[in-house]
């Protein structure tokens, strides 16, 4: 089964772009969807729009993949809450658990227990410990995302500008990966841009706003804020506008388009990289289905319906290149 699939994949890859479309849709039908499976999607917490965008995509894909889909998670962003949910999913004999973690290490024992009982674990967005999951769908390559974060502001400021970072919490895994990547890229390509302060908004819109105001008041020379967190970017942009510094201070970072639409239109945010959260949700379901079918290996290539072809490298699947929102394209994305 695996070999026949990879054969077809190779054929698809060799085929010219004209033929690709036809073949890809043929492949979607080729995923074995005979047995109905139960797949759960467990976000960091229920009730945030960026995770709901994943859910939206996942629901669509689940229908065509014969998946019994459940979206459930804790009401606060706590590892304990997620572990409770995992335990209940194990007891309910789900076939696949997909999750974005509040904490890579704390979730590991529960997920390992799940795997021991034959449940497949697929992490997405924010990874868990590598030995606690079967596959990880990385939003975008970290280095590339670091570059995109820098470019979202660097183009619009002086080469020796002072900038600030507004993140979520000091120990947020994915934010720290991005901040490291952006620092590396910054020192290589914009060595004279100086990060004067790093503050945290605790993923809370109000604390992010206060932190943004404080950054700008305490560091009047700052001309850009990079905020690689949904609440933080909104808070930073709102702070800039409240201080009447729109046009003088540019905000970049990453956030879902609905939250930042008004700031992109007003020009406080020139561009912002993210990825298509809805399609990522679809991919999560494809990987879940294929993992349940034992149809992908740790290093393999597979086709996920209309989404195209993806490669797993050492169990890590990079979902897409950064998708950059700006004034011209943001209205095409509604999530």
């Amino acid at each position: 089964m695996t070999s026949s699939l990879s054969y077809r994949l190779r054929a698809a890859l060799l085929a010219g772009p004209l033929m690709l479309a036809g073949l890809v849709s043929a492949h979607a039908a080729d995923i074995d969807t005979g047995k109905r499976i139960k797949v759960a999607m467990v976000p960091k917490l229920v009730g945030l729009s960026v995770f709901k965008a994943n859910q939206q995509g996942a629901e669509t894909a689940a229908k065509s993949l014969n998946i019994d889909f459940l979206y459930t998670g804790p009401v606060t962003a706590s590892a304990q809450g997620q572990v409770d949910v995992f335990n209940s999913l194990i007891a309910r004999r789900f076939n696949v658990i997909t999750t974005t973690s509040n904490n890579p290490t704390q979730l590991a024992p529960a997920l390992k227990r799940a795997r021991k009982q034959g449940i497949k674990v697929v992490s997405y967005d924010s990874d868990v410990a590598a030995d606690a999951r079967d596959f990880f769908i990385q939003n975008t390559d970290y280095a590339e995302f670091g570059k995109a974060l820098v470019e979202s502001v660097a183009k619009y400021i002086k080469p020796d500008a002072e900038i600030a970072i507004l993140s979520s919490t000091p120990d947020a895994t994915i934010q720290n990966e991005w901040i490291n990547a952006l620092k590396t890229y910054l020192s290589a390509h914009y060595p004279n841009i100086k990060i004067v302060t790093t503050q945290y908004g605790q993923s809370s819109p109000s604390q992010s706003l206060t932190a943004g105001l404080n950054i700008l008041q305490a560091n009047p020379n700052v001309t850009a804020i990079i905020a690689p967190d949904g609440a933080a970017e909104v808070g930073a942009a709102a702070a800039v506008e409240k201080l009447g510094k729109s046009g003088k201070v540019v905000v970049g970072g990453c956030s879902d388009p609905n939250s930042i639409r008004q700031y992109v239109k007003s020009g406080t945010i020139r561009e912002t990289p993210l990825w298509d959260e809805v399609k990522e949700g679809e991919l999560v379901m494809y990987v879940a289905r294929l993992a349940a079918n034992n149809a992908i290996g740790p290093n393999s290539t597979f086709t996920a319906g209309d989404l195209g072809t993806f490669t797993a490298k050492n169990k890590v699947i990079v979902f897409s290149k950064p998708l950059v929102f700006n004034k011209d394209n943001i209205d095409q994305y509604q999530f």
Partner: protein
């Protein structure tokens, strides 16, 4: 000033703060807070002139508005020897409900104000009934309704968040009274709320009843005060003020999520601020001016930490220390005055 017809037997063991003898002590607390705030502003301002800029001062004031409103209600509750943990979800629920209606169906601001008032009074009254009628201790009542009300936020929003609000809302949260008067409308809202609550607590029968109940509710009952009614109304007011704070929050920040209020632990912050302001957790004493000054002082301290480049991980410790020092110093002050 109306006097309360207290029969001699019903005179509470502790004197009531609104009565004249306490007044001077209360003013001491207020002056201390004002001096501490001013000193902080000047000291930090010497190192970084931006701290003393009109703009920064205005934002430190604006940043304290939401917490001040919640804490005003909390002060009233604490004055009756109660506590209200449910202010956080009441604030969050109001922010989410009004914000979502404004965002999706363009609810006019008047409507939002109406919804806030109804929601706040309703949820607050439920707390009050549980506390006063069923005699469930306030901390337990509001711990229970904390869970219930935060659940309602999820039920209502299903996780949809508020990302932007119509212009009228944003003006209420950020605008000036008039183009030529650089006073934020939000600050006026707080000032009006403060004035009303202050007048009510210090110059009405109801206010004196609140303090009497906080001092000794059995004695208050014997003195002919409708203890149950007083408590229900106090929790209703606390709910109302928390709801108005929620509306002001969504107007000021332009956003609200399921964790608004609860995520920032507004319930604990509001208790802290009330105590900083000189309200006694043992009841019978409520200083609403002190509460607002305390909230402002907290905002100034937290901003100062950024200006003097304290690493962010220590902000929370700074807040804890400040609470400890102010409250402890305040109690010393009170005891000093009593001896």
């Amino acid at each position: 000033m109306t006097t309360l017809p207290l029969p001699a037997a019903g005179v509470p063991e502790r004197e009531m703060s609104a009565a004249a003898p306490r007044r001077s002590r209360r003013e001491v607390r207020e002056i201390t807070l004002i001096v501490a705030t001013a000193l902080t502003i000047v000291t930090v301002g010497l190192f970084n002139h931006g701290f003393m800029s009109t703009q920064n001062l205005r934002f430190m004031l604006l940043n304290s508005v939401v917490l001040s409103l919640v804490a005003l209600g909390q002060t009233l509750v604490i004055a009756t020897r109660g506590i209200d943990l449910s202010v956080a979800p009441v604030m969050g629920l109001t922010a989410v409900v009004t914000g979502l209606l404004a965002q999706s169906s363009g609810l006019p601001l008047v409507g939002a104000v109406g919804i806030a008032i109804v929601l706040g009074l309703l949820l607050g009254t439920l707390n009050g009934l549980l506390v006063a009628r069923l005699a469930i201790p306030p901390i337990i009542t509001t711990l229970g309704t904390y869970s219930l009300y935060s659940g309602l936020v999820f039920v209502y929003s299903n996780g949809t968040q508020v990302d932007s609000v119509p212009r009228a809302y944003a003006t209420l949260g950020n605008g000036f009274v008039a183009p030529f008067i650089p006073v934020p409308i939000a600050v006026v809202v707080l000032a009006v709320a403060l004035l009303l609550v202050w007048f009510m607590l210090n110059h009405t029968r109801f206010g004196r009843a609140i303090l009497a109940v906080g001092n000794n509710d059995a004695a208050a009952y014997n003195a002919g005060i409708g203890v149950t009614g007083v408590k229900v109304r106090v929790y209703a007011l606390s709910g109302l003020l928390a709801a108005i704070a929620g509306l002001m929050f969504v107007c000021y920040t332009g956003s609200a999520t399921v964790t608004t209020g609860t995520g920032d632990h507004v319930e604990l912050q509001s208790i802290a601020v009330a105590l900083i302001g000189g309200t006694a957790i043992a009841g019978g004493r409520g200083n609403v001016v002190g509460t607002v000054l305390g909230s402002l002082f907290l905002s100034v301290i937290l901003t100062a930490l950024v200006f003097i480049h304290v690493p962010p991980i220590w902000y929370s410790a700074g807040e804890g220390l400040m609470i400890l020092v102010t409250v402890t110093a305040g109690m010393r002050q009170n005891r000093g005055g009593a001896n």
